[in-house]
Symmetry: C2
Subunit: 211 residues, 2 copies
DNA sequence: AAATGTAAACTACTCGGTGCAGTTTACCCA
DNA sequence: TGGGTAAACTGCACCGAGTAGTTTACATTT
């Protein structure tokens, strides 16, 4: 009984304060996504969250800190990276195709798109503001580069700079499934188109690098 | 003699009012490049140009119009597009390599880099603000897509979507010679690296699409 | 009744843009 | 070559709106 009260009390106090926090984060994400760091207004943001501006400042001491929290939150939300484990028993094409498809999935995911819409514009002019994005931005590349190294050591790929090769592979994919969507608001490729994009990337890559 | 006088006279008269105009444009380009459209300040810009703010507004009625003039000026400065003319008598690899190299040259040129630093950030959030860039941004792609169509009609490339194929080819190049420099401030590839990038792009492309 | 969270007013700016008085420059004509 | 006229430039004050962040005073809850 006493415990029940205590639990519900703590739960409520947590959720009520915490709910405001989440409301603020959600509103801030929208605001930053729409208007960028400079364009976003703390007043408008507070209104969006249906919360007093003072409450915003109770949770986040400054606009910059709030921005960093947004970026951090978005980074965490897709922490499961594109994981590709080299397997010497399977065909390279099969493994690469899986990697390509999961990369495309990542590029198309809501949170990844949001993260990029928010940070890339800031990245161009103030690297420190969006610095936490950098590692995440190309963390897939690192996974792929390890896979390529493994395949090279296994004698199944030509000995090339694995970072460079990974960059090529991902560039091929992003050219169709990332940049046009980010910059030109093109629609994201359909599942069939995704398959084609992945296939083409794999074919081109192996035609060049397979031993 | 008379002509000399007239020339120097006209030159002087033009340059003095026009010089201010050019000073303003130069200062505005720096300001926008450093701080973006929102971050740029008309006061700071006027001080940079060593010109009264009123004079700025005498030449350009608003910040937005000034911005558009900057973008227009930068676009015009590399109006000579990447021109690739299909020639059935020459090897595809040779023609593509030339196209790739001139594309890389364009990507590395000062004015093109400036244009992109200024417009891409705005492109993400306010397409209309940087709309004039769109055509120029991918005008090379259009040239390449015509070349691909010609090669297909000549029976030397498989029948594929030429826009898509051009996108792949340019994506391959941009992955190494554009995006890392724009977003991560990486150094531009050396001439030897450029040659490698171009070669790889050509090899991959032809391995996939040559008949 | 105490405490907390709230809204609204407030501070001390900066912004884009304008009005204006006075100065400098450019150009034409005598 | 000199003088006059018109245009352009200057610097300043100023406007209204909006900014991040802070204070104050009220209301709701427990």
């Amino acid at each position: 009984m006493v415990q029940d009260l205590k639990v519900s009390f703590m739960k409520k106090s947590l959720t009520l304060t915490e709910k405001k926090r989440l409301d603020i984060l959600a509103a801030a994400q929208e605001e930053f996504k729409e208007k960028g760091f400079l364009g976003a207004s703390m007043d408008s943001l507070a209104k969006r969250a249906a919360v007093s501006k003072r409450t915003v400042y109770n949770h986040f001491p400054s606009k910059e800190i709030l921005f960093h929290n947004i970026v951090k939150q978005l980074c965490d939300s897709f922490s499961q990276a594109v994981n590709i484990q080299y397997q010497s028993s399977k065909p390279l094409a099969e493994q690469l195709h899986i990697a390509a498809m999961s990369e495309i999935q990542l590029l198309g995911s809501e949170c990844f798109r949001d993260l990029n819409r928010i940070t890339i514009a800031e990245l161009i002019r103030s690297p420190e503001l969006a610095s936490s994005t950098l590692e995440h931005l190309d963390q897939q590349k690192d996974g792929l580069h390890v896979w390529i190294n493994d395949a090279i050591n296994d004698g199944r790929l030509k000995a090339v700079d694995s970072h460079y090769a990974a960059q090529q592979f991902l560039g091929l994919i992003k050219a169709s499934a990332f940049w046009p969507q980010l910059l030109l608001n093109q629609t994201f490729p359909s599942p069939e188109q995704q398959k084609i994009i992945a296939d083409d990337a794999v074919l081109m890559f192996l035609a060049r690098y397979e031993t």
